[in-house]
């Protein structure tokens, strides 16, 4: 694929892609059970062992292997992050596009609803939705998806409004082009760059929000590990077993860095005007 090759030629894209690929491989291995130890099995003798040759990232209070649990947890957290961003990006783009295109009353109604949602802090709104629906993976996806929809709606609406007034859209009207054609070819296609940037940023935020929900016990349910669940379990032993907190925390940080680097590279490549001179 040409696009992937272009990302790999991009210096920061290469690093970002490597980080994301690493996490995806790790998550895949975890999902098919190729972990060094059984992530749920409790090695009672080896409780709270620091990192060693046997237990690479140490063990927790119940004697479970942190590395194996991390492999599963990355998969769990990524699943929720990707799914919720897909929900948010789709819903937000549709709402933003139509608000800009129809204008006037529809613009007012749709964007005021988005403003109301945006007025709540992200984690509070997610908590509210989970509290209504009950905890679980599916509800976290819905909740995080709804929480980030207004941001996508805004990110799409402003440039869509500008594009709507551009001469090439006016030219399309003189040809009698259909609304779906104008919306997809002239508006959406020109929104690819801001959308990719937003998607990568949102992936990072969604990962954080998912961790937060799980940390509070409202996302992924123990004993299934997610990055947030692991952080929550580590907090009482922060001083005795710092590795329990450090490794999930580093994982979250590294994942966010990876998404951001990848997104920057994508933006440079997808914009045809910067194609000849990658930064």
């Amino acid at each position: 694929m040409g696009l992937l090759r272009a990302v790999l030629r991009h210096p920061s894209g290469r690093i970002g892609a490597a980080i994301i690929l690493l996490f995806l491989v790790v998550a895949a291995l975890g999902a098919i059970g190729l972990t060094p130890h059984d992530p749920l099995k409790q090695y009672v003798i080896d409780r709270l062992k620091p990192p060693s040759g046997t237990y690479w990232f140490g063990t927790d209070l119940l004697g479970r292997d942190t590395f194996s649990r991390l492999m599963l947890g990355i998969g769990e957290s990524f699943l929720v992050a990707f799914a919720s961003v897909a929900v948010a990006a789709t819903a937000g783009t549709v709402i933003g596009l139509f608000a800009a295109w129809w204008g006037h009353l529809w613009d007012g109604i749709l964007m005021r609803i988005m403003d109301v949602l945006l007025a709540f802090p992200a984690i509070l709104l997610a908590l509210l939705i989970v509290a209504i629906e009950g905890p679980g993976v599916a509800t976290s996806i819905t909740a995080i998806g709804i929480v980030y929809t207004p941001i996508f709606a805004r990110v799409v609406r402003a440039p869509a409004l500008a594009l709507k007034g551009r001469e090439f859209v006016e030219a399309a009207r003189t040809f009698g082009s259909s609304q779906p054609y104008i919306l997809s070819r002239h508006l959406l296609l020109n929104l690819v760059a801001p959308l990719t940037v937003q998607i990568t940023l949102a992936l990072a935020w969604a990962l954080l929000t998912e961790s937060g929900l799980s940390f509070l016990g409202l996302g992924t349910q123990p004993p299934a590990p997610s990055l947030g669940v692991m952080l929550a379990e580590s907090k009482s032993m922060m001083t005795r077993a710092p590795w329990l907190m450090v490794f999930p925390g580093l994982t979250i940080m590294l994942a966010i860095l990876g998404f951001n680097l990848f997104g920057d590279a994508l933006r440079d490549i997808l914009d045809p005007r910067t194609q000849e001179r990658p930064a």
């Binding site: 001469e167 040809f175 296609l189």
Partner: protein
């Protein structure tokens, strides 16, 4: 006597390796006090970079002076090599010795401060005036640039002033420091032709009053003819010809100068109109506009009802027959673009009829826009761009359609491999050819050309005009050619309609309207056209403004009365 400014072998480069990416390659000139130098060239010739190097503003655009010397005689008689001066010295030079005005006055003025505050600031910084003394000085400066009601205008914000007024405010700010040198970078390019004439006359008068030197940068060799003492023609970073104005204009030595002088559309007062394809009596029109009225509601406040309406087009009637070019001329805000958009159905009509022939094409009227960079979607390749009108008309993207694309691309003079390329890979002229090809995809009867050549360099402009004339003959097209440039109109139009403040004031054959204008506005418009031949003529500053088009609710204009000024030449009677 030492010159005010002496530039020796100037080299300016850009990017990481300025020596390798030189934009100005060894330019030298001397400028004596009180003299005016015009730097003429097309886009990319390095004329602006040369000028920006003189006050080292080029540094902020990423440029580096890689060689040469710029010696400026300062106010106290000391000599300063600008290329070696440090930033603090440069700030003083820019403030007090060298003033600069730019092309777009709206972006040069701060929109959140009144023009009075901005002029006062210039006086504070450069002359140390404060309080009422600064206000008085600002008022005098506005009077000096011939702005009426100066005390009132001080309280205006930039958006409340017209383009010409804003440029005058910029000039007022610059002369606040009483500079010894004024650099004007295309100061009238964004302005209407009559306003351009006003600004040029103002600059010429101020130069005499203040005794300053000027460097005038322009792409229009005809414009500087009336103001310059010396002229320097630039191409690809090199001065190909420089010398006294009359010598260069009357006896050009370099091929490029000759080419520029030839390419500039000369306005000949109706003697150079087209002789082909004149109107056949009784031909059925393809577009007939009858008493067209377009109004936009002008609301006051957020929830208030419309307090009045902008009368953008008021009672315009004309018809267009196959194979003919009707040019609509007028200034910005005269309603010429709105008329075109109404014919295409892009704006709703308030009253009146527009009849379009329903002949050979599903979409008989197509349009080419002014800015070829804005009217092509940057993310679609040429094939998708050209296919769009056909897809909109229900055709499929098949071999037959590709054949038509290839035919039209070849016809407008673009290479075959263009289909897979993207708009940014083409130059401005090529993009405009692309837009023309796209407009012809559905074999229309009428093409509306809205300032279609205004954004192009003069030599490109001439070739696109030739192409348009060829296409018109070949396909029997009718053109509705909207323009403010009388010289261009003279080359392409068969008939001319003059619009002023939303109304048609004169319509007739090109030859009769241009050679024998009847309406006072048409006369003013034609008198303002800059021309090399008219360089000895002295213009007076005329501050007439276009009246406001916002009318109270229920306002109806007086019914127009017309008189015949000749065969196919009608003039609206002027109310005194």
């Amino acid at each position: 006597m030492t010159p005010l400014l002496s530039v020796k072998d100037l080299h300016v480069g850009f990017g990481r390796d300025p020596k390798a990416n030189e934009v100005v390659k060894g330019v030298s000139f001397d400028l004596a006090a009180g003299e005016t130098l015009a730097i003429v060239g097309e886009s990319g010739s390095g004329k602006s970079v040369t000028a920006l190097s003189i006050n080292r503003l080029v540094d902020f655009g990423g440029g580096r002076i890689t060689g040469g010397r710029i010696t400026l005689q300062r106010g106290d008689g000391s000599m300063l090599d600008v290329t070696k001066a440090d930033e603090s010295a440069l700030v003083r030079v820019r403030g007090s010795d060298i003033g600069m005005i730019f092309q777009e006055p709206m972006t040069s003025l701060n929109p959140v401060h009144t023009v009075g505050a901005q002029i006062e600031e210039a006086f504070k910084l450069n002359r140390g005036l404060t309080g009422s003394a600064a206000t008085r000085a600002a008022k005098e400066a506005l009077e000096r640039v011939r702005i009426p009601d100066s005390a009132q205008r001080l309280k205006y914000y930039p958006h409340q002033l017209s383009g010409g007024m804003r440029q005058r405010v910029m000039i007022a700010m610059v002369i606040a420091s009483n500079p010894r040198l004024l650099i004007a970078d295309e100061p009238t390019t964004a302005l209407d032709v009559t306003v351009q004439a006003q600004i040029m006359a103002l600059l010429a008068e101020l130069r005499g009053e203040l005794g300053m030197s000027m460097i005038f940068i322009t792409h229009d060799i005809g414009l500087v003819a009336g103001i310059a003492d010396q002229i320097m023609v630039m191409q690809n970073g090199v001065a190909v010809e420089q010398g006294a104005l009359d010598a260069v204009l009357d006896n050009p030595q370099h091929d490029y100068t000759r080419h520029l002088l030839k390419a500039v559309p000369h306005f000949n007062g109706g003697r150079a109109v087209r002789s082909d394809g004149s109107r056949v009596a009784g031909a059925a029109p393809v577009v007939r506009v009858d008493n067209l009225v377009v109004r936009f509601p002008a609301a006051k406040g957020l929830f208030a009802r419309a307090a009045g309406a902008v009368h953008a087009v008021d009672g315009v009637s004309f018809d267009l027959v196959p194979g003919e070019t009707l040019a609509i001329v007028g200034e910005s805000g005269s309603g010429k673009s709105t008329t075109a958009r109404a014919i295409l159905g892009l704006v709703g009509t308030t009253r009146g009829r527009i009849d379009r022939a329903s002949g050979r094409s599903p979409r008989p009227v197509q349009m080419v826009f002014q800015d070829p960079f804005a009217s092509l979607n940057p993310r679609l390749n040429v094939e998708s761009l050209l296919a769009e009108p056909a897809i909109a008309a229900g055709q499929r993207r098949d071999a037959k359609l590709r054949e038509r694309m290839a035919f039209l691309l070849a016809r407008v003079g673009l290479p075959d491999d263009a289909l897979t390329r993207f708009p940014h890979q083409f130059s401005g002229g090529q993009r405009q050819r692309l837009c023309i090809a796209r407009a012809l995809m559905l074999n229309p009867e009428v093409v509306v050309l809205d300032e279609a050549v205004s954004a192009l360099d003069v030599s490109v402009q001439a070739r696109v005009l030739d192409l348009l004339i060829d296409l018109q003959r070949e396909f029997g097209l009718a053109y509705l050619f909207i323009s403010h440039d009388m010289a261009v109109v003279e080359r392409i139009a068969h008939r001319i309609a003059v619009m002023y403040a939303g109304q048609l004031v004169e319509i007739g054959t090109a030859a009769s309207v241009l050679s024998d204008p009847q309406h006072s506005y048409t006369k003013r418009l034609i008198a303002a056209v800059p021309a090399i031949e008219r360089r000895k003529q002295v213009f007076t500053v005329d501050a007439t403004q276009v009246p406001s088009l916002v009318r109270p609710k229920g306002y109806e204009p007086q019914p127009s009365r017309w008189r015949e000024a000749g065969p196919d030449h009608r003039v609206r009677l002027e109310t005194v």
